[in-house]
Symmetry: C2
Subunit: 311 residues, 2 copies
């Protein structure tokens, strides 16, 4: 079983409007809701692919209840731990030109709630094969939360994947996760923190340096997603770059989560196959109008278009 951890679960709300004009009132023509947060995006897609998955994390209030009922409607087994405060919402307003986002802060989690989560997670470690720790930490959860959870996974012999940013990522790296999946922005944040100055990782060479720094900090394998430039992988078995020769237009939200899904789902296959599949699944996600969905035939077809090179 694959366990996904979403400590700052969200209710993702998308509004369609004909044209967004600041300072006016809009009647929303269409409302879409889904359970969100990186870990839940990963859980939903793994479940859609037929992988046995359990989603845990923290959820609170009526928004938390809505998140859990949406998961239940999709058939994703949930083992969320309740918190007293309201889980956050994200609101995305989409018109024909662009998307504008509003992200609420997360719920304030108490020390007792965090301890209750650690107890639940420790129990789940007895039945999990892989633990995917993904997304931001809500207020009140300690900065080294992922380090704690990674340590518990290692003690239980559970394979770990970390997809985080900022201090949560830095603390996590020190706990030696098996696989880390940064994107260009996260690489840049980390690199600038380590070097004490802002750096650009837009170039492949820049990204290369940042990924090497990440391994120096403790990551065993690193797969970095670089949007149009595909991904680069620095693993204990070798180093690769995989990409599509022509970039695809669409909604990039969820492409990184799709990459994690492909890497976890194919975890017993050789690295080059895993990487090709990850690029294809991310690209198939980008092509879909609704963030985080995938058309499976598109995925299959795209696999043949992905190029992979030793690096």
């Amino acid at each position: 079983m694959i366990l996904t951890v979403t400590l700052n679960a969200a209710l993702d709300i998308t509004y369609q409007v004909p044209a967004m004009i600041g300072g006016t009132t809009h009647r929303v023509s269409e409302v879409a809701e889904r359970a969100g947060g990186k870990g839940l995006n990963v859980a939903r897609l793994l479940h859609a692919l037929g992988e046995p998955v359990v989603a845990t994390g923290l959820a609170g209030g009526t928004t938390g209840a809505r998140i859990r009922s949406l998961l239940a409607a999709e058939g994703v087994p949930d083992s969320f731990v309740p918190v007293a405060a309201e889980s956050r919402r994200t609101v995305t307003v989409a018109d024909e030109e662009e998307a504008t986002g509003f992200w609420e802060p997360g719920p304030l989690v108490t020390a007792a709630e965090w301890r209750a989560f650690v107890t639940r997670y420790t129990g789940l470690m007895k039945v999990a094969e892989v633990a995917v720790l993904a997304g931001s930490l809500p207020p009140g959860v300690p900065e080294d939360a992922y380090a704690t959870l990674l340590g518990l996974a290692r003690a239980a012999g559970v394979c770990t994947v970390l997809d985080a940013d900022g201090p949560a990522l830095r603390h996590g790296l020190a706990a030696r996760p098996d696989l880390v999946k940064p994107n260009a922005r996260e690489l840049s944040h980390l690199q600038s923190h380590v070097l004490g100055r802002r750096v650009a990782v837009g170039s492949l060479a820049g990204a290369h340096d940042a990924v090497e720094a990440m391994r120096g900090l403790g990551a065993k394998d690193v797969v970095a997603t670089l949007a149009g430039a595909g991904l680069i992988a620095f693993t204990r078995a070798g180093t690769w770059r995989a990409y599509l020769p022509s970039a695809r237009k669409g909604n990039p939200t969820g492409a990184g989560d799709a990459c994690v899904v492909a890497l976890v789902s194919n975890r017993r296959r050789p690295w080059p196959e895993r990487l090709v599949d990850a690029v294809a699944l991310a690209a198939a996600t980008v092509a879909q109008p609704v963030a985080g969905t995938v058309e499976l035939l598109d995925w299959r077809r795209l696999r043949h278009a992905v190029r992979i090179e030793a690096w």
Copy 2:
């Protein structure tokens, strides 16, 4: 007891952001939530003034549950009838310059749910002294819903106040409500429908004609709020205009609801006193930073500034 009816109750969410920029993602610094919809705004303010009030209407799903828990936290007694679909949210994004609104459509109400509401309302008519019917109708509720409810109130000897727009208002007028409280936009909609063309009611004379038309359609008394121009009242006891000599800056949301509150709360006093109080309470509401709240000392002070003239 005053009964307020809110058939399309809302969860009003306000986001504070430093500056709203289309096409970007914003971290919301502050989230405020309140139970909304015209009828609930009226109920909350009546309750704050110490009037015995019960709020009824339709509420559904986790959003409906949140609306009811916010009402409970403020101590407003609720007798809402549940519906299966999710109640609507409104999202207002406020930065230092302006406010941008997003209004979801209401829940689809089934015929059985509407019948259940009518049954509940009929029961409440035995204990109510005044029924305030205010706001939009959700999908599935018949256009003549307010006419039905006004008929049941009259049969029970309950005094009625109608604050609506469009077809709901037109059908309602035919059922002869005791008091109707339109604003300039609602007067304009009604007038253009009756005349078959678009009309401006920006002038006092134009508003006068529209209010007379409204009485011709069935309204017994009409008090129209005209923003900066105060209000005009056409009643069975006489005709008045009441206004503040200098318009007040602020947030006009909720000023119309405050006017209804003052008229209902002072229902046993002479019309001129009711009207002065209504202008003062609406102005005190406009001066508050949070929509629909009121500073009572400000209200008291403003009463002395209101001018009233026979019309």
